[in-house]
Structure formats: structure tokens, C-alpha cells
């Protein structure tokens, strides 16, 4: 059964100031949403609210067609934040294998990690400590985490931060690949990402135009 993400009347505020109100969204399997807007308009807060990391004032987030309908939605999401959530002292492969195991993946996480690294262009670097990588490479390794966690909905906050143009194309390919297999992608970015057929959301401080 294909999945569908349905957001109804979502609102959140920072302190007393509302950031967005009464936000509604429906994304079918293979759908994508690009969130754009200037700095400080609440792109990250929006993503964190969707991820359940930031308390919403109102509204519901539902994932229809999930394997376990009783589970909270956040468990079907994978969130790629500003920070990479990788340990400098562990090797890249150890980091990825840990996240694969921790998100409850069966199978062979070590092989998954190798494959994922190949996809993001870090093949053969799995044995290096994460701290040895450059900023762009660290970001790419964090993107590989999306591939080992196997979650239907990706939430990406500035996925292309610190990446060069070639790697931006790689991110676009990753997103396209995920959508092709029936996944949903929600990405916040201020760089022009080429995501065909994506809904657009421009955040401009208080008012939201969808």
C-alpha cells in the first residue's frame, strides 16, 4: 500500500511569536516538498516540528499506509539536520553501521554502509575516522545515513550545505531515487535544487504562502 503524508492545521511558535499557522499539506508516495525562504523565517523549525522534535501548537501529522499504523509518525521519518550526528572518533563505516543498527535495520548493515558510501561518492573511505573528512565529505557521509536507515519519509535541512556543485547533483539524484521507490522527501534549502514536480513552500516570516 502506497503511503501518503497528511498534515492538517499545523502550527508552531517560537516563544510568543507564531512561526506558521494552520498549515495543511498532502504528499503522496513519490512526492516532494521544497521549503524555501530567507534565513530566520522558520524553515528549520518547520522541519523539526514535522519530525516531532519541536512541539506543535496545533494540528495533526498522519502517515497513511504505514506498516504499523499505531506507531508515531516520527518513526517513519529520517531527519538530516544541520549537524551530521556522526562521531569524529569513530570511522565512517562504524558511524553508519551504528545508525543502521540503532534504527532497527535487519540484514547486513556493514554491506549497506559500504553501498551507501559508494552512492555518495565516498567509496573506500569507510575505514577513515569521521573527523579526518573535509566538511563536504562529512555532509556526504551524513547523506549516506539516509540510505542505511531505510525510512519512507526524508526530512532534509539544507542537505547541500558545504557541498560543491557536483555533489548537489548527487543529492538531486538521491532524492529522485528515493521518490522513484515510493518515498517522500521534504527538503529545506536556499540553494536551487532541481526536484521535478515538487510542491513549493515559501516561508516569509509570519505569513506562509503555499
Amino acid at each position: 500500500m502506497p503511503i501518503r503524508l497528511r498534515v492538517d492545521g499545523l502550527g508552531a511558535s517560537r516563544g510568543e511569536d507564531p512561526i506558521f499557522r494552520e498549515f495543511c499539506l498532502v504528499l503522496d508516495a513519490g512526492g516532494a516538498l521544497l521549503v524555501t525562504g530567507r534565513n530566520g523565517t522558520g524553515k528549520s523549525t518547520f522541519l523539526r516540528t514535522l519530525a516531532g522534535l519541536y512541539p506543535a501548537d496545533s494540528g495533526t501529522i498522519l502517515l497513511e499506509g504505514a506498516t504499523d499504523p499505531t506507531a508515531p509518525v516520527r518513526e517513519s521519518l529520517h531527519y538530516l539536520g544541520h549537524r551530521n550526528a556522526m562521531k569524529r572518533d569513530l570511522t565512517v563505516a562504524e558511524n553508519l553501521v551504528f545508525w543502521a543498527r540503532f534504527s532497527g535495520q535487519a540484514g547486513d548493515p556493514a554491506k549497506d554502509a559500504d553501498d551507501a558510501l559508494e552512492v555518495v561518492g565516498l567509496g573506500g573511505l569507510g575505514h577513515l575516522p569521521f573527523g579526518y573528512l573535509s566538511a563536504g565529505q562529512q555532509r556526504r557521509a551524513a547523506l549516506a545515513r539516509l540510505l542505511v536507515a531505510h525510512r519512507p519519509v526524508w526530512l532534509m535541512d539544507e542537505p547541500t550545505a558545504a557541498l560543491d556543485t557536483a555533489s548537489e547533483r548527487m543529492v538531486e539524484a538521491l532524492i529522485a531515487g528515493h521518490r522513484a521507490t515510493g518515498g517522500i522527501v521534504i527538503a529545506a534549502t536556499h540553494q536551487a535544487l532541481d526536484v521535478p514536480g515538487a510542491q513549493m513552500l515559501t516561508m516569509s516570516g509570519f505569513a506562509v504562502t503555499a
Binding site: G121, L122, G124, L125, L128, P129, Y132, L133, S134
Partner: protein, 252 residues
């Protein structure tokens, strides 16, 4: 002839890590077998000599305890000399030497403490007294461990070397002060009952095995130190290669 050329080359080669590794590789088997030989002779002497009429069998503990205590001090001296090499002459191998001497020195200091306490139990009736000499060795042990922790806590080898070199030298300068203050503290509180060891001249009967054992332990120290230094050079090479690999992948 061969030894001679080795010695001459070693002087000029010491500064070059690659040649040092090669030299260490050639030297290590010899040093290791010399150590083994000395230990074989030393241990035979240890157990063939008669027991002391005063201390009985426990005198045999001395053959380990004294060399270990000697090495604990020599290890720190090696570290201090290397620290000087790092800070003053910026010798590329000095910080490697300092870093590698720490765990070995700490090991021998621990051995000196343990054997001292095993010697003290039958002699004084207690495992440990806060006697000036023992206390100083214990402080030395803590200093070693602190340096090891410092080295482990910093991932940049070069920076760690400079910082720990400063600490080593301050510690080295501080040793007489520690010794003096501990003496002071001890005489201030000294309970009269504590027995003092030795002081008198040692019978040559005991001196011979002691000297051989001291030599054997010293050889062991340098063997281990050389091997550890070689490994440390490898470790740094690995770190450099990993960085290079990360850069290489970025440009590819």
C-alpha cells in the same frame, strides 16, 4: 666492521623517521636477544645466591624492585631529555620518544610500587607506608599517568607533543621540590615505628645479580622503547595517509 658502520649511520639517520624505522628493524632482534640473554643470566644468579640472614628469601624481591625503581627514574629522565629535544632543537623524533617512554615508564613504576609493597609487607608488617621515598615514587606514577592521559586526549600529535613537553619539563624541575616537601611533610609527622630499608653497603654476593638484573631491565626498556617508537612512527604515517586518502577522494 658491521657494528661500526651501523653506529656511524645511526648518528646521521636518527633525524629521519624512515631511516629510523629501518634502523630500528635491524637493531630490534639484536637488542631483544641481548635482553633475553641478560635476563637468563640475571635470573640464574638471582636464585643461586644464598638468602640474606636478616631478610631471608625476601631479598630476592630486591633484584626486581631496585631495577624497576631505577627504570622509573630513568624513564622520566629519557622523557625530560626528549621534551628538551622537542622544545629546543625541534628534533622530529624527540616527541615520538617522549610519548613512547610514558607507558613503559609507568609500567616499571607500577612494578616498583607493587614489588615495594610486597617487600614491605613481610618486612614492616604493612603493605604501604607514606615514607618519603615511596610517596615520591607514587607521585611520579601519577605524573606518568597524567601524561599518558594528556597524550591520549589530544588527536593532533604535534600539538600534544609540545604541550606535554612543557608539562614533562615542569614536572622534571618539580621533582626535587616534591622530594624536599615530602621529606618535610614526613619528618613533621614521622611516627617513630617505621623501619627504614638498606642504607648500609650491600654485600657483593647480592650486588652481582642486582647489577646484571639492572642491566637486563635497562636493555628491556630500550628494546620496548625502540619498538614502541617504530610503531608510533607508523601510527603517524597512517594518520597522514588517511588525511591524504580523504583529500585524494575529494579531488577525484
Amino acid at each position: 666492521m658491521r657494528e661500526r658502520s651501523l653506529a656511524i649511520r645511526s648518528f646521521t639517520d636518527l633525524a629521519n623517521p624512515t631511516r629510523f624505522v629501518a634502523l630500528a628493524g635491524r637493531l630490534l632482534p639484536w637488542l631483544a636477544s641481548l635482553t633475553a640473554l641478560l635476563f637468563a643470566v640475571g635470573l640464574t644468579l638471582c636464585f643461586s645466591t644464598a638468602a640474606d640472614y636478616q631478610q631471608g628469601e625476601t631479598v630476592r624481591i630486591m633484584y626486581i624492585h631496585v631495577p624497576a625503581a631505577w627504570l622509573s627514574m630513568m624513564g622520566y629522565t629519557v622523557m625530560a631529555a626528549s621534551a628538551l629535544g622537542t622544545l629546543v632543537w625541534r628534533h622530529p623524533l624527540a616527541d615520538v620518544a617522549a610519548k613512547c617512554a610514558a607507558p613503559i615508564g609507568a609500567g616499571f613504576t607500577a612494578l616498583a610500587l607493587v614489588t615495594g609493597s610486597l617487600w614491605g609487607k613481610p618486612m614492616w608488617g604493612t603493605w604501604w607506608v607514606w615514607d618519603a621515598r615511596l610517596t615520591s615514587v607514587f607521585i611520579l606514577f601519577l605524573m606518568y599517568l597524567g601524561l599518558i592521559a594528556l597524550n591520549r586526549a589530544m588527536d593532533d600529535a604535534g600539538r600534544a607533543a609540545k604541550v606535554s613537553a612543557v608539562l614533562i619539563l615542569v614536572g622534571f624541575v618539580n621533582i626535587p621540590i616534591i622530594k624536599f616537601s615530602v621529606d618535610w611533610w614526613n619528618t613533621l609527622h614521622q611516627p617513630a615505628s617505621v623501619l627504614r630499608l638498606g642504607g648500609s653497603a650491600i654485600d657483593p654476593e647480592f650486588l652481582r645479580p642486582l647489577l646484571v638484573m639492572a642491566l637486563a631491565f635497562t636493555c628491556l626498556f630500550f628494546t620496548l622503547h625502540l619498538a614502541a617508537m617504530r610503531t608510533e612512527i607508523w601510527r603517524r604515517r597512517i594518520a597522514a595517509m588517511r588525511r591524504q586518502a580523504a583529500r585524494g577522494a575529494a579531488s577525484a
